[in-house]
Amino acid sequence: MTRLRVSSISKQYRVRTPTGANTVDILRDVNLTVGENEFVSIVGASGSGKTTLLRIVAGLIEADGGSVEIEGQPVSGPGPERAMVFQSINLLPWRNVLDNVEFGLEMRNIPAGERRERALHFVNLVGLGKHLHAYPHELSGGMQQRVGIARALATDPAILLMDEPFGSLDAQTAEFLWEELSRIVAETRKTVLFVTHHIDEAIYLSDRIVVLGGTPAGVREIIDVDFERPRWTYDVRAKPRFSELRARLREQIFQSSGARQEAEA
């Protein structure tokens, strides 16, 4: 069953130039679907519109054309079927861990008792049971992002949207969190749409990888990742197939010479 269907999305941005305003095409005719319990990543070179696409799905910005459907229903604007995890994490600094996780539930008018119960469950799930009352500035970046993930999961969305959630963390913490995220997604049986610029991350986590590219960007290729789950029980990256996938993704992402020069500079 299809959880998310993105149909012929297009988006333009207005940019100021010395001679006045101009419009630039960012996305043109983007189509993709995410099935139930599927983990789909969007990759692409910087400026390929990955985050723009995710923000359109989240309802934070409006597309200029096309539609987004969740479980067959067209959506516009943010809604309870989607929850977002941000690269900049964005916890409320004046709230402790539990109260931060309760935020999304407050917006849904869920009674205080049930809120607390659900928040506790998800804080424990992300492994922060010992830090219930800590404030964000007392937590490391990795711990803060766990809170960000718990906050999104607590609202029980039909699809979890993640915008480079580990992009601001150091490499070791990020890799550790790949495993954690795989485990959490498996336990909660969540559907995920995940944006990243990190190829290994995309392969490790995803069932399918969507490569965006071109100007304006469209879907260049969709690659199936067929490693067995759970993937933390063996070394996925030691498999020859992993290198093949990585090479193919690199090829696709850096296809345009401009992106290659920029990446190699």
Partner: protein
């Protein structure tokens, strides 16, 4: 041994005060008492006005005026600041008045306040309100605009409506700025109170100041000035304590706000 003793800040403060007071006592007792008075005469005058109940009563009246005017300034200034920070329309509708009133010395409005409210406590409260509302309003507005766009977007992604946004994101996010507005406002409130009581009071500490000044009772004037200094320090540090209590979640909150 004596070196560390002489580096203790309290020892140095005490020595400095003792020196200045002795000098003052020496110089003052060799001059016309109207000009400088002496620490001992001021102490005696102080005991008299405390004993007679005149100073405690004046202090009470003054505190009441500051408290009423300042509370009114918070009740009006914070919501207006939130509104002006949040809504462009409200900002453009209101900022001509706010800017104009902010640059006019509020003391210049005293003749109008006398015409509207007469001489007495309501007029004094109005002056305190007028002097302290602007720092509170302007800091609140700046605080609203300082709230991170990322937090606002996050709240929106979780479906926050305007009411939730203001109550759960904007208001707590502007607390450090609102608090520094209160800190600036309380100083203005005390100035407003004294000026008001000097011009239109028949009670309170401002009136005592004018009254003893007119009688050339220099020692009594000094008593009132010292009492005002104590009042100012107490109120300002009370607001500072309040500020700390609301900013515990951000260790740099106080230094970040203006």
């Amino acid at each position: 041994m004596s070196g560390t003793f002489l580096r203790n800040p309290w020892v140095l403060r005490f020595l400095s005060l003792a020196f200045v007071l002795s000098l003052w006592q020496y110089a003052g007792s060799r001059m016309n008492p109207i000009f400088l008075s002496t620490p001992t005469a001021i102490f005696e005058a102080g005991m008299k006005v405390i004993g007679s109940g005149e100073l405690p009563w004046a202090l009470l009246v003054s505190l009441g005026v500051v408290f009423s005017g300042f509370s009114l300034a918070i009740i009006v200034g914070v919501p207006l600041g939130l509104l002006m920070g949040r809504s462009r329309i409200a900002e453009y509708l209101l900022d001509p008045y706010v800017n104009a009133l902010y640059v006019v010395p509020r003391i210049a409005l005293i003749p109008l306040i006398i015409i509207w409210l007469g001489l007495g406590i309501p007029a004094q409260i109005a002056v305190v309100f007028g002097t302290s509302v602007f720092p509170i309003l302007i800091s609140t507005e700046a605080g609203v605009k300082s709230v991170s766009a990322n937090l606002i977007e996050t709240a929106r992604s979780f479906g926050a409506r305007e009411y939730d946004m203001v109550r759960k994101i904007i208001l707590p996010g502007s607390v450090p700025f609102i608090m520094s507005g209160l800190r600036l406002g309380i100083g203005q409130a005390i100035i407003g109170m004294i000026v008001a009581q000097m011009f239109l009071g028949i009670s309170g500490m401002g009136f005592m100041l004018v009254n003893y000044g007119n009688q050339f009772a220099t020692d009594y004037v000094f008593v009132v000035v010292l009492a005002l200094a104590a009042l100012g320090v107490t109120l300002t540090s009370a607001v500072r304590q309040f500020e700390k209590r609301f900013s515990h979640w951000r260790s740099d909150a106080i230094s970040r706000a203006p």
